[in-house]
C-alpha cells in the first residue's frame, strides 16, 4: 500500500512539474537561491515594476504599417480597365523624431515605401472583345514627408486620441504592361498630404505598454485611420487620388 502511494505521489510530481510552462521554469532559474523573486513578479504582472526603475526608453522613431483601398483613373476615359480594382495600397512608413515636447507633440521627418497593383482584361485589338490576357499597372509609391503629431490628449487628459498630419513629396514608380509585354514605365511626382486620427493603445493597457517598453523599447502603440491625398504634377501619370488607410503604428 505504501509503495503504491509513493509511486502515485512521484507520478503526480512528475506530471505537475513537466506540465508547468517553460517560461516559468526559465524565470525560476534566473533567480539566485535565497533571494525574493521580484524580477519574476514584475514580469508576470507589470504593475509590480519597482517605482525606482525607469521604464521610459528614449523615443527616436515611428514606424507605421498601413493599407487601404486605392482607385485610379476613376473619371477618365482610359480608366475602365481598372475600374473594378481598388488596389489595395500597402505601405510602410518610417519617421525620425526631430523634436519632442514630452507629453505634448512630436515633430517628425521620414519616408515611406508602398506597393499597389491594378489589373484588368486586355481587349482584342481588331474586335474590341475581351481577351484572357491581363493588362496591369504596378505602382510603388515612395514619400518623403515632414509631420507633426499631437499626443497631449492621452498623456495629460487620458483621452486616447492622437492627431497627426504630414506633408511631403511622393515619388511613385509605375510600370504598365499587357500580358508578358511591358508597355511603359515612369515616375509620377507630386505633393502628398495626410491627416491621421489615431487611437492610443497605451491608454487601455498601461501595464502592457510599460512591459513593451521594458522588453522591446517600444514606447507607444496606436491604431490609426488616415486620409491621404496625392496630387501628381501635370506631366506625370495621373495616379493621384484621395483615399483612406488603416494601420498600426509604433513609437520606439
Amino acid at each position: 500500500m505504501n509503495f503504491a502511494r509513493i509511486a502515485c505521489l512521484a507520478l503526480a510530481v512528475f506530471c505537475v512539474t513537466s506540465t508547468l510552462p517553460l517560461t516559468a521554469a526559465v524565470r525560476a532559474d534566473e533567480v539566485p537561491k535565497g533571494t525574493t523573486n521580484n524580477q519574476g513578479l514584475s514580469e508576470l504582472d507589470p504593475h509590480y515594476i519597482p517605482a525606482t526603475r525607469a521604464f521610459r526608453s528614449p523615443e527616436r522613431f515611428l514606424v507605421e504599417f498601413r493599407g487601404g483601398p486605392y482607385s485610379v483613373f476613376s473619371k477618365k476615359a482610359y480608366g475602365n480597365y481598372f475600374s473594378d480594382d481598388s488596389g489595395p495600397l500597402l505601405s510602410l512608413h518610417l519617421d525620425a523624431i526631430a523634436y519632442r515636447i514630452p507629453d505634448m507633440l512630436y515633430v517628425t521627418g521620414g519616408f515611406s515605401f508602398g506597393w499597389m497593383k491594378f489589373s484588368g482584361d486586355a481587349i482584342v485589338r481588331d474586335t474590341g472583345e475581351t481577351s484572357t490576357e491581363e493588362t496591369t499597372l504596378t505602382v510603388l509609391p515612395m514619400m518623403v514627408t515632414a509631420g507633426i503629431r499631437l499626443d497631449v490628449l492621452p498623456r495629460r487628459l487620458s483621452v486616447p486620441l492622437i492627431f497627426a498630419a504630414r506633408a511631403g513629396l511622393e515619388f511613385a514608380r509605375w510600370d504598365t504592361g499587357t500580358g508578358a509585354r511591358t508597355d511603359a514605365t515612369g515616375w509620377a511626382v507630386g505633393p502628398v498630404f495626410s491627416a491621421q486620427l489615431a487611437l492610443d493603445l497605451d491608454s487601455f493597457e498601461s501595464g502592457g505598454a510599460r512591459a513593451l517598453d521594458e522588453e522591446w523599447g517600444i514606447n507607444h502603440t496606436y491604431l490609426f485611420a488616415e486620409m491621404l491625398s496625392f496630387f501628381p504634377v501635370s506631366k506625370s501619370l495621373d495616379i493621384g487620388t484621395t483615399t483612406w488607410l488603416l494601420g498600426l503604428g509604433f513609437i520606439f
Partner: protein, 378 residues
C-alpha cells in the same frame, strides 16, 4: 489502496501517457517508415537505400535507362516505361566471402507464403516456379567476386512485368547452385509496379491573347507527378471533321498514346512540369499563326503518361491594354520627373525600388535588435 487513490493514479497515468504521446508526435512522428512488403524500417534520410530484409544490402539505382529518383520514402512505383526498357540496375553490398558463397541468384517472390531465401522456394511436389520464379541474370553477374559492392542488371521479364502490384526480388548469395538450399546470405528489394496509366485531363480550354495565352484543364482525381503540354503551332484553322471547333491538328490526335521519349513532331512545342498545375501560359508572339492546338498529358508517380487529352485552341491575337488606351485618349505622361519610358522594358521598376528600400529596412532591424540587446545587458 482506496478507490480515490486508484482513480487519481489512473488519471495521472493517463495524463502522463497523453503528454508522452504528444511529445512523440511532435518530435519524431514521421522519422521512420516501413518499406512496402518488407516489414523492416529505415530512416527517411536513408537516401536511395532500400534494404528489404536479410543481411545483404540492396539499393535500386536505375529503372530502365533512368536514374531512380530520390527520396524513396514513400517509395515511388516503377512504371510501364521501365518494363518497356526491360531492366533495372541494383547495387548489392555487405556480401559474404565470395570464396565460400560464389553464386548469385535472383528470385521473384510469387507467393506471399514462401520466402524465396528458404529452400522451399522451388521444392517438389509444388510445381516449379509457383512459389518463386528464378530471374535469369548474365553469367558474369552470377559469379560473385570479393568486392565491397556489386552492381548488376536485372532483366524485367514477363514474370515481373506481367501485372501491376507489389513485387519482391530476392538476391541470394549461395554456396552452390542447388535451388533447394536455404540462402544464409540474401537481400530483398520490394517495389510497386504500376502499369496502369492515369486518365487524360479534361475540360482543356484555350484562351485568347498575344504574349500570355492561358491554357487550362482539369486533372484526373488520381495521384499524379507530371504534366506535359504539347502545342501544335501549325494547327489547322477550323475542325478537320467539319465540326464547330476553332482549330484542329494533324499531329496531336486526342486519345492517342504519348511517349515521353519520342521527339515531338516539327512545329510542336512540348514542355514537362513536375509541379502539378491546372493551367499554363504561353507566349504566342513568335508562332506566326492565328490558332495553335494544345493538348495536355498527365503522368502518374511511376511516370506512366495518359493518352493525349482533347484539344484546346489557343487564339493568337493582337491585344491592347491600358497604355494603348491611355495614349489614344491623349495621355501626356512623359519623361523627366513625371516621366515615362515608353516601349518594352526588360526589367520592372519594382525590383529596382525594392533593392533600394530593403537594405534600409534591414539596417533599421539590425539597429533595433542591437538596441534591445544593449538594454537587456543593462
Amino acid at each position: 489502496m482506496t478507490r480515490k487513490s486508484v482513480s487519481l493514479s489512473v488519471f495521472l497515468v493517463a495524463a502522463w501517457a497523453t503528454q508522452v504521446a504528444a511529445q512523440t508526435a511532435g518530435v519524431g512522428g514521421s522519422t521512420t517508415s516501413t518499406l512496402a512488403g518488407t516489414g523492416s524500417t529505415t530512416p527517411t534520410s536513408s537516401g536511395s537505400s532500400t534494404t528489404g530484409g536479410g543481411n545483404v544490402q540492396v539499393q535500386l539505382n536505375k529503372v530502365g535507362n533512368r536514374d531512380y529518383p530520390t527520396p524513396l520514402n514513400p517509395m515511388l512505383p516503377v512504371g510501364k516505361q521501365a518494363c518497356d526498357e526491360g531492366t533495372i540496375t541494383v547495387t548489392l553490398s555487405n556480401l559474404p566471402n565470395a570464396a565460400q558463397f560464389p553464386y548469385l541468384e535472383v528470385w521473384l517472390q510469387t507467393s506471399m507464403s514462401v520466402e524465396c531465401n528458404s529452400g522451399k522456394r522451388n521444392t517438389a511436389p509444388i510445381t516449379e516456379n509457383t512459389r518463386c520464379v528464378k530471374v535469369p541474370i548474365s553469367s558474369d553477374d552470377e559469379q560473385l567476386k570479393n568486392k565491397s559492392y556489386y552492381t548488376i542488371t536485372v532483366p524485367l521479364s514477363d514474370a515481373v512485368c506481367g501485372s501491376s502490384g507489389n513485387k519482391t526480388l530476392y538476391f541470394l548469395a549461395m554456396a552452390s547452385q542447388n535451388n533447394n538450399d536455404d540462402a544464409l546470405y540474401y537481400g530483398k528489394l520490394s517495389f510497386k509496379l504500376d502499369l496502369d496509366p492515369p486518365n487524360a485531363p479534361t475540360n482543356v480550354t484555350g484562351g485568347t491573347g498575344e504574349t500570355e495565352i492561358e491554357l487550362s484543364w482539369d486533372l484526373p482525381p488520381t495521384v499524379l507527378q507530371y504534366v506535359w503540354t504539347l502545342v501544335d503551332t501549325t494547327a489547322v484553322v477550323g475542325d478537320l471533321d467539319g465540326g464547330t471547333a476553332e482549330c484542329s491538328s494533324t499531329k496531336l490526335i486526342p486519345g492517342t498514346h504519348f511517349d515521353p521519349a519520342d521527339i515531338p513532331p516539327e512545329g510542336v512545342i512540348r514542355s514537362k512540369k513536375t509541379t502539378l498545375r491546372s493551367q499554363e501560359v504561353f507566349n504566342g508572339e513568335g508562332w506566326g499563326t492565328e490558332y495553335a492546338a494544345a493538348v495536355v498529358v498527365a503522368g502518374d508517380q511511376a511516370g506512366n503518361p495518359s493518352v493525349l487529352s482533347e484539344i484546346g485552341c489557343l487564339h493568337v491575337v493582337k491585344t491592347s491594354g491600358f497604355w494603348d488606351r491611355y495614349q489614344e485618349n491623349g495621355g501626356t505622361a512623359d519623361s523627366g520627373w513625371g516621366c515615362s519610358v515608353s516601349g518594352p522594358q526588360g526589367s520592372h521598376g519594382s525590383r529596382r525600388a525594392a533593392q533600394t528600400v530593403l537594405p534600409a529596412v534591414f539596417i533599421l532591424g539590425v539597429w533595433a535588435a542591437r538596441r534591445r540587446l544593449r538594454r537587456r545587458a543593462r
